[in-house]
Symmetry: C2
Subunit: 301 residues, 2 copies
């Protein structure tokens, strides 16, 4: 089934203990689509300005990513993010952010994309997530991400969004903030009451947890990786492989979601092993499947 993503395209400058990556391709929709493309064709929606130093078509060359939803605004500037990671690299420090086109009106969903079945609303203002979702006629499974600034500033819009979607994919700290609860399991119970059938908690190197409204739970560790160079995009790659797997399977029942979470975990592990998109984009599908089997073995007893 068709998979659509809306999210950011960013010009990233990232500093980690392993080096600096300047003005490279980033953004939630880009990482998401790169990971998802291993599993399913992707319909891509995003906006850049005239200043974008990389060619999005080239970034996705040879992959089934439909860029008819890519909008180039000649008078605007591309979203820029400058961040750094220190010590254990568990936390991104935002050194500078220029919203630029992300502060403007959202992109239009092309008519040919409005019948999309699987939809991922990557992290942005919940008001924009609503407007984008309004344009999809009858989706099968909608997932969304969010972050601290929207929880703090747009809580009502976010809560209204949670009633419209099937799945929230969110960081542990943000889940606790959203529910105003320091215990993660209690926080999840409160988030479930806000609406989504599936709640997925991203915990960085502590792996992930998944909860279904009927009480089912599932948990995976992060894939053990000795070479972590740049964690940027790990969460979006995780969501991309997860949603790509679901779209390809054509359903989102809990057993399918478990396998999807496994592929998300593996995609994130490739992303963090190199700067920008180098880690995930240089993996082959065989590499991904091999690591998936290792992950499965790692957790079975």
């Amino acid at each position: 089934m068709s998979l659509l993503v809306t999210g950011s395209i960013g010009i990233d400058t990232v500093t980690t203990p392993y080096g600096v990556s300047e003005n490279c391709a980033g953004g939630s929709a880009v990482y998401f689509s790169m990971a998802a493309s291993y599993f399913s064709p992707v319909r891509f929606i995003g906006v850049i300005g005239a200043d974008c130093p990389f060619d999005i078509a080239e970034v996705f060359a040879g992959r089934d990513v439909d860029l008819r939803g890519l909008e180039v605004r000649e008078l605007s500037k591309t979203f820029r993010w400058k961040g750094s990671y220190h010590d254990t690299m568990n936390e991104a420090i935002t050194d500078n952010v220029e919203l630029n086109v992300l502060a403007e009106v959202p992109p239009e969903v092309p008519e040919v994309f409005t019948d999309s079945q699987f939809v991922f609303l990557a992290n942005t203002n919940p008001a924009l997530q609503h407007k984008l979702l309004d344009q999809i006629s009858n989706p099968t499974f909608v997932a969304a991400d969010t972050m601290n600034c929207w929880i703090q500033g747009y809580l009502n819009e976010l809560k209204a969004l949670l009633k419209r979607i099937d799945c929230i994919i969110i960081n542990e700290d943000e889940a606790k903030m959203l529910a105003n609860q320091r215990n993660l399991i209690k926080a999840v119970e409160l988030i479930q009451q806000m609406g989504p059938r599936v709640t997925i908690i991203k915990r960085g190197d502590a792996g992930s947890l998944m909860f279904e409204a009927n009480g089912d739970m599932f948990s995976l560790p992060a894939f053990p990786t000795a070479d972590v160079k740049d964690p940027t995009g790990a969460g979006d790659s995780f969501a991309g492989a997860l949603m790509g797997y679901l779209a390809n399977a054509g359903n989102a029942d809990f057993n399918t979601l478990k396998t999807a979470l496994g592929y998300g975990t593996v995609a994130a592990s490739f992303t963090i092993e190199n700067f920008s998109l180098l880690g995930i984009s240089s993996a082959t599908r065989a590499d991904i499947d091999k690591r998936f089997e290792t992950l499965k073995k790692l957790t079975q007893f």
Copy 2:
């Protein structure tokens, strides 16, 4: 097979966001033995002073814990620990510690215990761990715990100990400190080179990881618990159930270790649900087995 533990007996005063527990039973050997006793008879070695406000025999009443290794020093004072947990309760803050008997000579291993097959050297000065291990004639499987102060102050003794034991059970931060490596997987590789066949990393609410010298790995999440009242003793309960299961099984091959890690995870989850020993001691074996099955389901796909 027989299981022996040497470690601390403590008078604990613990403050968490849920309340205060004053002068209650604690210490590594006590938590360990309580959890282990669900799986195997336990041979207990530890020392208290004349001031101990609780009766150890009463603490273990109805359980198969052999206290012939309990030494009461009439002129000494019992080890005391005063600690607190804040916010997410992931970290214990030591507010006060009085080593008392722990700063004296170690206890003797009774003659009847010297043939013990499974041995756990709970956290103490590595020089004492050596002396205790010297008294065991021909153990099958020896595991030890340690902590930051010994890594910093007694690194040579600790490294010598690692060559004598089969398994190290250690917190993530301490593993990184021991290996002087900020990446956990690289830290484990270095610890493996120090000697033990099995390295088990405790990660609090992020679960645990286990590594075998032949390259095998295994990982479990923490058991999802909505009611965390007092994390004290979680690590020792974890080790207790793990070693108790192994001693009962009579071997420590990797498949047996996987199941043992599952029981350790479950024991820790009961311990943290109430103050002092109340959480673990009020569980039945049926409660433990039920949670074990849930944990297994939580991670299978």
